[in-house]
């Protein structure tokens, strides 16, 4: 138990380092940008109405004070962290006085929901089918599935999502292809709203599941086809252990742990996939928010979205890593 606690502590340190490095990178990259947020707002105000030059000067000064753009970079960096730790990332430019954090928090549940559902579905089904495919290597259905998975797996999320839009939105229009729920439905805890959300999430989730299913299927099949040649499996079969028991508790159980690590390592990539999928389906999540923030030159919002993305992905990997020694007693927690 004490070993496990030191392991957790070590991993926690690493998590802090990853979050620190990721957010620092995001901070410095955005602050190297030649686009000044103050100029952006001033230009917008000046374009909308004729205001006296003196008022514009005052606006510029107060905005500079608000954003702290005149300060040297290292002080800005320090201020950013002190504000970040209390959860304040400054106002967004897209929707000016609204704090960027509010916009991010509004978008976050959509992304997390979409990601969780599609990962759970694709990981579970992919691993069970992959395990069976590795054990019954001559089954015709599983072999065909393997060929299809191999064909689909290398195709980028974008192309899959795009083909789904074409198929189900253009040639056979049965699915809604944009938005998170219908316009005529009022958000709330009603059956109508929930049904609409599920209906709208089918296509985006499907595009993530199709690619993810192939990845875990192929990984699991390769793993299992190595495990079935081990002596203990042959022994169990000869000793008359029931086949289902051998497959699920002797083979798949052992192959599952590396697959879990694989999932943790692939999480960053899957998150990128979500961003793209959301953009294709105009889903109101973090990805769509990030893309519109970049297009509008909204520095604070871009920084807020990337920081939250770094924190979210790193903590998800952290949680999976903590599960690892609990599932596999052979892993030494040093």
């Amino acid at each position: 138990m004490r070993d496990y606690l030191t392991f957790v502590l070590k991993r926690l340190l690493q998590l802090a380092a990853v979050v620190f490095a990721g957010i620092s990178a995001a901070f410095f990259i955005t602050h190297l940008s030649p686009i000044s947020p103050v100029d952006m707002i001033v230009n917008r105000v000046a374009a909308q109405a004729s205001v006296s030059p003196l008022a514009i000067m005052e606006l510029r000064e107060s905005l500079s004070a608000l954003f702290g753009t005149d300060l040297p970079l290292h002080i800005k960096y320090f201020n950013f962290w002190t504000r970040f730790l209390v959860g304040d990332l400054g106002p967004s430019l897209l929707a000016f006085p609204t704090p960027a954090m509010n916009l991010v928090m509004r978008a976050l549940p959509w992304t997390v929901g979409l990601l969780m559902t599609s990962i759970l579905i694709s990981w579970t089904i992919g691993n069970i089918l992959g395990g069976l495919g590795g054990y019954y290597q001559n089954n015709r259905f599983l072999k065909a599935f393997g060929v299809v998975a191999m064909g689909v797996q290398p195709i980028p999320y974008y192309i899959v999502a795009f083909l789904l839009v074409l198929l189900f939105g253009y040639f056979w229009p049965v699915m809604p292809i944009s938005g998170g729920f219908s316009i005529n439905v009022r958000p709330g805890f009603t059956f109508e709203f929930i049904a609409s959300v599920i209906h709208h999430s089918i296509l985006p989730a499907a595009s993530l599941v199709i690619v993810g299913l192939g990845i875990s299927f192929l990984g699991m099949r390769a793993m299992v086809s190595n495990i079935v040649t081990e002596d203990y499996v042959t022994y169990a079969e000869l000793a008359g252990v029931k086949t289902e028991r051998v497959v699920f508790f002797y083979v798949i159980r052992n192959a599952m742990v590396p697959q879990l690590t694989g999932l943790a390592m692939a999480l960053g990539g899957i998150f990128s996939g979500t961003i793209i999928t959301e953009q294709v389906f105009a889903y109101p999540g973090l990805g769509a928010l990030l893309v519109s923030a970049v297009n509008a030159g909204d520095t604070t919002l871009v920084l807020a979205v990337s920081s939250i993305a770094v924190v979210a992905v790193a903590s998800a990997i952290f949680v999976i890593d903590l599960l690892h020694p609990l599932l596999d007693p052979r892993v030494k927690v040093k």
């Binding site: 253009y170 960053g268 893309v291 297009n295 979205v305 990337s306 992905v313």
Partner: protein, 286 residues
Amino acid sequence: MFAVIRDLTRYNIEFAIGCLLVGIITLFALASFFAPVAPTMIYTVPPDMPPSMTYWFGTNSRGQDLFWQLSYAFRNTLTFGVLVAIISRIISITVGLLAGYLGGWVDRVLMFFNDIFVSLPIFPLLILVYFVLRSNLDMFTLALIMGCLGWPFDARLIRSVSLGLRHREFTRHATFSGMSPRKIMFEEHLPYVMPIVLSTAIANMIWSIGMEVTLAVLGFTNLNIPTVGTTLYWANNHSAMIVGVWWWILIPVVLIVALFIGLFLLTVSLNEYIDPRSRLRRMGGA
């Protein structure tokens, strides 16, 4: 070398198909050197012509012959993929061999950075880079940045092989006969990790080309350089699907999917060949 390729094509149908697909796409890309028109010029042919004998792949709404346009786009995309693969291979070989052979604190420090790079969300970072550089972002800069982000998985793989090599007899002989660590790493150990380097390089190309296509389709790269991604971007921009110019989208998508599947089959078959257990099973079963 030739014996290996012969074995692979004989016992491994995936390898043969992969070679065929990648070969066709490469030939198609090489054809751009004989293009009769400059690929960046627009309105050189009548726009929106469907595929025919004169225009094999049709023409797009910007008045470009899609055959030559795509040929040039694939040349750029492939060059980009190879460039990223080379840059990230250099980093991953160096880090992997150093960490594996030297061990100790070098290993700990390098793997610490490795773990950080593994969990960085790369796509948002690339969008940030575009956010700063805008249209100054050329092909080479993007390849350099992606090369610097795409090494950690493979470095870990190379390190694990190199860890095993360190305790082999020949390494001890080399050390005792006074070979420098640098020489041992790059002359004795490098040949052993070469097969892994090759198969991960192809996997890395799939990753980087996919990223580039995605970035370009969203409009986050330099849109004046013809690549597969920017071709799709312009097609979307001209609402090709709604106007009915389906060949402008369908042909690039089919070709890029063929390239991805080809490259993927190559990595899968190479990985199987590298693992002696699965290689023997296949040869025995064939």
